[in-house]
């Protein structure tokens, strides 16, 4: 009996030894330690710094393209591909409408003008956006201007910005209504939602091939040439900000925006993910985003979070701001606030006056206020007397 037990123990030990040795060969302690550390924004700002023309640019350590030359190569490839797809579309338009039609000429012009830039992130910049919920009227112009600016495939119904319609009393996201046809109403608040470019983005943590990462200036980008369409990032995003191209992407030369950025709004491929990229084709070169530009009530503000003369810091300090789903801990860079003045809603009683709610007028001097009993002072004393009698 003892011998048998001894043999078992020996064999078991041999087996464990074999596993242990294999394990030590395969695992790398440092990598394991690295993996368990949370990624902080200081790590991201501390990427690879390049000085070009006197300005400091940073490439995030997370990016699979570590040098500007690699990005430039990628941009050239994407530009070739975009031009080819655009020319195919232009040829079709010219065939359909005639070589001399204005549409054909415009289409060809757009194709020639395509520029895929690889502008890097400037050091010390953190892009953020703020939105005044009192002014937003839920008109959706931002959502559709975004579609036009970013070469989104219009045949698939992808829209990066969705405008939620919640009750003013309780900003409960489950009760949202996206498909309203009439707005704004006085007990509703309209919340446009797109990618929040979180500081701790769950989507970049789960991508199995590093097709999406947070750039050094805060923008979370997707490289359409690396995405494998597994939809793990769509599953992980708490804001529903990411979208997949479920069918082959159709490029329309007439509505193409030739201003493109290699990691941004180059027309995507089938079965790859896209999302709001804070119009990096504009913002990184000094411009402002399409949604900010088109808002008819000026509810949106976009700028560098660290800029003391920028709108975001002023809004946070002056009005205070909140973010959606703060308990998710993702630390979004899209701030919502209730500004000092509200655009009068459709069902306002006096839309042209400052008192558009139609509150009852204030009483004149000397008249009793609202919390005095109808009987005047006498009833008050009576009640007091009866109380004293107790």
């Amino acid at each position: 009996m003892v011998e048998k037990g001894g043999k078992v123990r020996r064999n078991l030990l041999k087996g464990i030894a074999a596993t242990g040795i294999t394990g030590m060969m395969v695992l790398d302690r440092d990598k394991v330690k690295d993996m368990l550390k949370p990624v902080t924004k200081e790590d991201l700002e501390d990427g690879y710094v390049y000085t070009i023309n006197g300005e400091e640019y940073v490439i995030s350590a997370e990016s699979p393209y570590k040098t500007p030359e690699e990005l430039k190569e990628l941009a050239k490839k994407k530009e070739q591909d975009a031009k080819r797809r655009c020319m195919e579309s232009a040829k079709e338009i010219c065939k359909r409408l005639g070589e001399n039609s204005p549409e054909c000429r415009l289409a060809k012009k757009h194709c020639k003008e395509i520029k895929v830039k690889w502008t890097l992130a400037k050091k010390g910049v953190r892009w953020a956006m703020a939105l005044d919920l009192n002014r937003c009227i839920g008109c959706r112009r931002c959502a559709y201007a975004c579609v036009q600016e970013n070469n989104i495939d219009r045949t698939q119904g992808i829209e990066w910005i969705k405008v939620l319609n919640l009750s003013r009393e309780e900003l409960e996201l489950i009760a949202t209504d996206l498909k309203y046809t009439d707005a704004p109403y006085k007990e509703r608040v309209y919340i446009p939602l797109a990618c929040n470019q979180c500081e701790y983005p769950p989507c970049t943590m789960v991508c199995p091939v590093r097709a999406t990462w947070k750039e050094a200036d805060g923008i979370v980008v997707v490289d359409s040439y690396r995405c494998i369409g597994c939809r793990y990032c769509i599953t992980a995003c708490p804001y529903g900000a990411r979208h997949l191209n479920w069918k082959p992407v159709i490029v329309d030369a007439l509505t193409l925006n030739p201003n493109m950025h290699v990691l941004g709004n180059v027309p995507r491929e089938v079965h790859t993910v896209e999302k709001c990229i804070f119009c990096m084709q504009r913002s990184r070169d000094g411009g402002t985003t399409a949604c900010v530009e088109i808002c008819p009530v000026g509810a949106r503000a976009f700028g560098n979070l660290h800029d003391p003369e920028g709108p975001i810091m002023r809004i946070i300090e002056e009005y205070g701001a909140f973010v959606l789903k703060p308990y998710a801990g993702t630390k979004p860079r899209f701030f919502y606030y209730f500004g000092p003045a509200r655009t009068p809603p459709k069902d306002a009683k006096n839309p042209k006056s400052s008192n558009w709610l139609g509150n009852p007028p204030r009483p004149e001097e000397g008249a009793p206020g609202p919390n005095v009993l109808p009987g005047g002072e006498e009833s008050f004393n009576e009640e007091k007397k009866s109380g004293e009698g107790m």
């Binding site: 502008t119 046809t181 509505t255 503000a301 809004i315």
Partner: protein, 206 residues
Amino acid sequence: MRSVLLATLLLAAVTLAYTPAYPCTYCHTPFLKLNGNVKKAEIHKIDLTVGAHAGLYCSNCHDPKNPMRLITGDVVIPPNLASEKDLMKYNKLCAQCHPRVYADYMVGAHGNSTFVCEGGTTYFVIGYKNSPWWYHECPEYRNMHTVPGKPCVFCHNPHDPVKPPASIMPPPSDRPAPYKQDAITYTTSFLMLLAAALSIFAYVKK
């Protein structure tokens, strides 16, 4: 140049004040002064007894000695004739009573921003779902400058400043429904049934 014209055209459409078609000096120099009590101007179809500026009189903003000028000294130019630069001059008058909003406006937190590029043109496009978009055409798409979008009076008629809400655009879209796949349905169900029948037959037959 084109963008300025477009801007003023839109401003004209938006503003409600009516200006007669002869020069202001016809009435305003040297006659027609204001006293401190005036709130209506029938000829200009301006009524300050209603609206958000109901607490004001004409002379709060217009020089009583010469109503063609504002109290800041700038000349009042009718919106359909004024350039954007002229209209921007009036911002500092609005700032007198609305300093907080003006501070917001100067950093870009109130009203839109837009951007300009050297040698570029801006087009106003009505596109996807009939909604607007500013299309900027620039030679290199580099070296852009963000500028405040509009002067105060572009959105706020100074005599009726509350800006009513614009129309809203259609509801959002979703991915199209799955395409018809009858051929797939029929062939796959047929093959599945065939495979199942064969397997059951192989199982059951002695």
